[in-house]
Symmetry: D2
Subunit: 279 residues, 4 copies
């Protein structure tokens, strides 16, 4: 259960008392107050509930009273109900491969509903994992039509879109269908090197550390809420191909972490920033 | 307020309800369950209380009922009541200097009650900060007597002993007076290189990364609960003096972090391990 | 060309003059002196040579004079002649997968001659990459026989054995056939947690950082020359399965780096330590 | 000795032969070729020379022939001749303190000729180290005059200006007197957050990692050649004061490393980028 609301005394007491009375055992809770004097308050509860199927709807209905009292925005998620992913990919396979590998190893507890690509190159790979592969070409002329097709193909079978090095800009029409539910991996340490060819930009600027950034997609290019970043040291000896090679490992790890945290309902978005509860 | 107890349903609800009824506003809470089925449960509450002087004793007394019900071990600390440090040092000054510097910059919110050293070298430095300096020489023959003198000098004016590169082994008699309240910085990545000359040991083993470890002191040499560790990459080019130089920066940072977290009552010790709440 | 010899004036001049006279253009050189007063001297030259096939043997023969003069141990390697790997694996596939993936992506410029395993589990995976897979079971009783079979299977078709989470101790008979040419990944930050179950050991000790170590295999268990190490921060919340999961990513990256450096002839071994030239 | 020239066969041979004939023993050499086909070539030799006072001028004069032949730009520096620093500071003392502390500990082998500040706050501190302190106030109106005074105060007694959190923009007139000899610490991970208040910018963007950058000062604000960068992980819990506190440690370390490398003549600048030889 993820809750955000204006801070005020008694919130933790009210919610934990409510959960206790409804038979829920709190396994984990994390909270964050932007500012005790009138700031926003964010809390995440992880709880067990006996007879979940029957009791959760009751709990959800009853919680309305508590939520109204504190002007809460809230969601409950069932950990046993896996997030369903639609992964978008273009020609670089490393981010996709990492997700498939972690998923197969049991480290990424999601359902991979499908892979959608503007190229047909990775069909064999993806289908060998038993995952449907949809080739939907995109050209400047057919972009609107292609996006309509993408949304139709996804239908109601995915909760999250992951752009695993998908080299097309996603238009607002898709974004508004998946608000804060499209994760992109940008191959630079944002906000440095927004836009195209970030490794070439990094090489030209002569940076000593490169990075990658996973973020939710918003209408502003590479400007959405940052979920995770990581970096690696480089030197003057690393040319652009070498930066790309080093960067691939960072991109893989950063994207996989962001997807994992989203899948575990650890992320709250507020004013273009994320609160990530690692507890 | 730090609490540890066997896990059981209703703990968070009971405590947060209790705090709410006593007028406390929870600013931050962190919890950790070793194992929901009968494991230990640890929780830290940070709360504001109007009229703290009058209300805290009432709250503390009343909390006994809750604590008994859940077999809790608990402590309350007042954030406004700064921890008082006795810093022990020998001949290397970098860890001491870092603590003094962070304290002066306002980054380390403690009171430095005194510095005790088995050498007289740093008197001028320490006294220039307005801090009392006690030179208590230690030889194999006078060790017991020296430690008696140390404890007498400290008296009741310190809550925490910090061994900032103090090169004497502290005997059980001192440890039992300050259980989990003596922090040592060991200049290796424990449990690698226990004991003397860890940088020489690291050089001989040819490691590619060196580190430092801050831990509570127990009777087992370099075996107490680890609070914090950090590392730095090195290469075959780094000889022992170079490792020492690189290590100094790690030691300084790691010790200062550990002292800061202790001072902020973020650390619980359970079975020779620490739970550190960073929330 | 990798050279080690006692340090003395004129070595760089003599070798670079020699190479120049033989038409070799030095692309990269790296050197390291343990101690200018009578220590060891290590140098690595990377050079281009027109008509390599004809000229290299001439150069190698002529170099004897220079080598004798300075008591050099030296090797030349042709970058165009890829190292041939025999990868040993047991039941955990992540290190093997990383090597296969980097090899397929062109990031690891080697030839993978075969995979040998004491289990048959990964046959399908390995063969799908077009790589021969040999299942050679090992039991305490059949160990000597199994190792004889391994050596026979390898024959002269591999230059390097990579133990990619191979959970059997390799006996001296195999090691002496591949001196400083067997790379193992140990799933701890050596010399901490030598031997079995290092993640369980790390959990029990309560470390705040875990790591992995790639090293050449010698007769001393987990005691050979360290090639590369890396680490990741963990917390009290990470139980053994979580440490294993985090560790898998470190192991993969560290082993792949070590194999890459070996394949690029960047590593010299001296007195159980490595000199790794990153230039 | 630092050399840059167009790449061509025979450079290493010619220089090392030359040095050998002049009695110099090469202790360390590092080289870097941007592109073997006609790119730039950079090399650094560290050598011992008996009777340095008499022999170095001879060697320098004779080297002209070699230099002309390969169109070299070259410098020789005597390691025993310490770099002389003029440190500029405003109101934040942490970077200055780190330099003073490392200098006093013998880790930074330079001469600190003076500290210049637009405030008088740190006079006591600086003078207690026996270092001259010059207070030269700067206002928008008096800036040109103040800079004239700074240059006059420095005269010929410093080789390097270090801006240790000096919060004034240095004008071209000063820069051209010290080309690639002014090092600034910028409190962000450049090129992210150029200009003022980078920690506030970082907070607003919601980054998960913050950093600091040491660079040579050029006319473009925060746009000069990057010498060193480092970073630290942060979270949503870190507000601006917390980012500043964490950042202080990064700034201190990064600036001290850059100054150390400059003092050891390890840095070559080419086309707004640095080649840093760590060998």
């Amino acid at each position: 259960m993820l809750i955000s609301c204006p801070d005020r005394p008694g919130i933790v007491a009210a919610v934990s008392q409510f959960l206790y009375e409804h038979g829920a055992n709190i396994v984990q809770s994390d909270q964050y107050t932007m500012n005790p004097e009138g700031g926003m308050f964010f809390i995440r509860f992880e709880f067990d509930l006996a007879d979940m199927d029957a009791q959760l709807p009751v709990l959800q209905e009853d919680f309305g009273r508590v939520a109204d009292r504190f002007e809460m925005k809230w969601h409950t998620f069932r950990a046993s109900r896996k997030k369903r992913l639609a992964i978008f990919v273009s020609k670089e396979d490393h981010c996709l491969l990492e997700l498939l590998w972690q998923w197969q190893a049991g480290d990424l507890d999601v359902e991979i509903a499908m892979v959608i690509s503007n190229h047909d190159d990775m069909r064999g790979l993806v289908e060998s994992f038993g995952i449907p592969y949809h080739h939907i070409p995109v050209t400047p002329d057919t972009k609107a039509e292609a996006e309509r097709k993408q949304l139709e193909t996804i239908g109601r079978s995915a909760d999250l879109i992951v752009l695993a090095r998908y080299m097309q800009i996603v238009s607002p029409k898709v974004i508004e269908q998946f608000p804060n539910r499209i994760i992109n991996i940008h191959h630079s340490f944002l906000p440095a090197f927004v836009g195209g060819k970030p490794y070439a930009q990094a090489y030209n600027r002569g940076v000593k550390i490169i990075g990658a950034t996973a973020h939710y997609v918003t209408e502003e290019l590479d400007g959405g809420p940052i979920i995770e970043q990581d970096v690696q040291r480089v030197s003057h000896r690393d040319d652009v191909p070498s930066l790309k090679r080093i960067g691939r490992t960072i991109e893989r790890v950063v994207l996989a972490r962001a997807v994992k945290w989203h899948a575990e309902d650890r992320i709250l978005v507020h004013q273009n920033k994320t609160v990530v509860f690692h507890g």
